[in-house]
Amino acid sequence: MAAWNLKDKTAVCGVGHSPYGRRLNRSTIDLAGEAIRHALDDAGLGRDDLDGLIVSFGTPIGADADTLAYALGLKLKMYNQTWAHGRFTASCLQWAAMAVNAGLANAVACLTAISFSGFRRPMMGGAGDSEGAWEAGGGHGEDPVFGMTSPGAGAALVAQKYFARFGATSRQLAAVPVAFRKHASLNPTAIMREPITVDDHQNSRFVCEPLHLLDYCLINDGAACVIVTSSERARDLQKPPVYLSGMQGLPGGREEFIWTYPGFGTSQQDAFDYQPGLQPVYQMANVTPKDINALFTYDAFSILAWTALERFGFCGQGEAAAFTQEGRIEVGGALPMNTNGGLLSEGHMMGWNHQVEIVRQLRGECGPRQVANAQLIQWANAYGDSLIYRR
């Protein structure tokens, strides 16, 4: 049996979100309800048109899919949920595309609704690092026995090795948070909008050295929602469809370490010179990295922008440090990245805020931070999954 060709079969028809903030003091069910209503309004759909729900994150800091279906009076034919990590944005959208294509649902809302401030126990670092205490350690390299805790520590291991192996510096890495903050300053939704300089980055305190505070994303509350339907149906709705043109799944195995590409030699990865070839996401969408007008990535830590660029072949191994300088990744540059401000400055919505921004960019709704004539935008991550959106 031939594989489904999912190219352009499904599309995003609506996006919506709640306010993002450090301490919103609102229930995650309330935040989710607001994001879903805005997304339905954006699409021109009603509550009863929604028959699928896929939740990213959930317990312990977010609302779970079954709870949301009940509390919001949804009438679902299918729901699903990933466990409590941010890496599943593309996975959720891929499930939605497959479910719609298979006829399991007509319109699937994919969302996250989280409240870090409503969760008093430290999460993913220190006493709340339950995964690090597993027999094989945590998925970001945690090992609390030696004080190795929090997802950022694994990213710091990658950064240290990157600096040494390729002769790059923390000062060069500053270009990433500086660019994303510049974008956030043009985005009224962003939590952190005050521009920063390379010196601000260098002078910010170390959290897990060599990463500075300004290499770390925000921790906040909010909800964001993306609705996927068939392309045929999307063409009849109120906003222009944004097609899901290419996708590749989340790779796993001993050659993977979440914050970098195979061959990097962190955790139990073999060390070798990585050659990305033309990744499957481009083959499905029938494009190459040169065709991409803007790139969005899961920037929980600034170093992930470098490893994502190299993983997908936007530049060679060890070249991202130079590639990200001189405004190249800013709006107006050759490859704008995270024009919303990213997790680093707009807010940590598990990447869902990035999907909202991608859709708005392709519709031309982004005002002062609009990427001129955006046709193709990619979501591509250090950990290897990806989506290509087309207008």
Binding site: E135, V145, G147, M148, Q160, K161, P210, Q268
Partner: protein, 138 residues
């Protein structure tokens, strides 16, 4: 022994021999008798060839620093007095990498590829941790 307040390892049926080895002052990992792979973390069978024919093998305890970090934030109250403390990823001579703390070295003197050797740290009556220090000249 003074009360030890830092996190202790999750000892399971899979990794019990590793912790028993450290208690005996031996660094042991699983070694595949079919394909020769030595691996970490412990697994139910060889992750390369899936053979169940493996044995716990004593290793040299020598390796090199593959990468390292320095914690400036006290995520665990039990580590607060150690700030700034290092965590290193040590690549053993036999291949696998272990997370550990480097001892007997200033954080400023740690370098990638620095040769290191094991130090056994009996933190409780039941648990011995594998830490590493700069290798002494042979």
């Amino acid at each position: 022994m003074a009360e030890y307040k830092k996190p202790l390892p999750a000892i399971s049926t899979l990794n019990q021999p590793y912790w028993d080895g450290l208690k005996r002052r031996e660094l042991t990992l699983q070694h595949c008798n079919e394909c020769g792979k030595i691996w970490y973390p412990p697994a139910p069978f060889c992750p390369v060839c899936w053979s169940r024919n493996f044995a716990w093998q004593k290793l040299s305890g020598r390796g090199k620093v593959n990468s390292w970090v320095v914690f400036h934030q006290a995520y665990f109250s039990s580590f607060r007095d150690n700030i700034p403390y290092n965590v290193a990823e040590v690549e053993l001579e036999e291949g696998p990498r272990l997370l550990t703390n480097l001892v007997a070295v200033d954080n400023d003197d740690i370098m990638i590829d620095m040769p290191v050797e094991i130090v056994f740290d009996d933190v409780t009556d039941e648990v011995t941790l594998a830490k590493f220090r700069p290798a002494r000249k042979p």
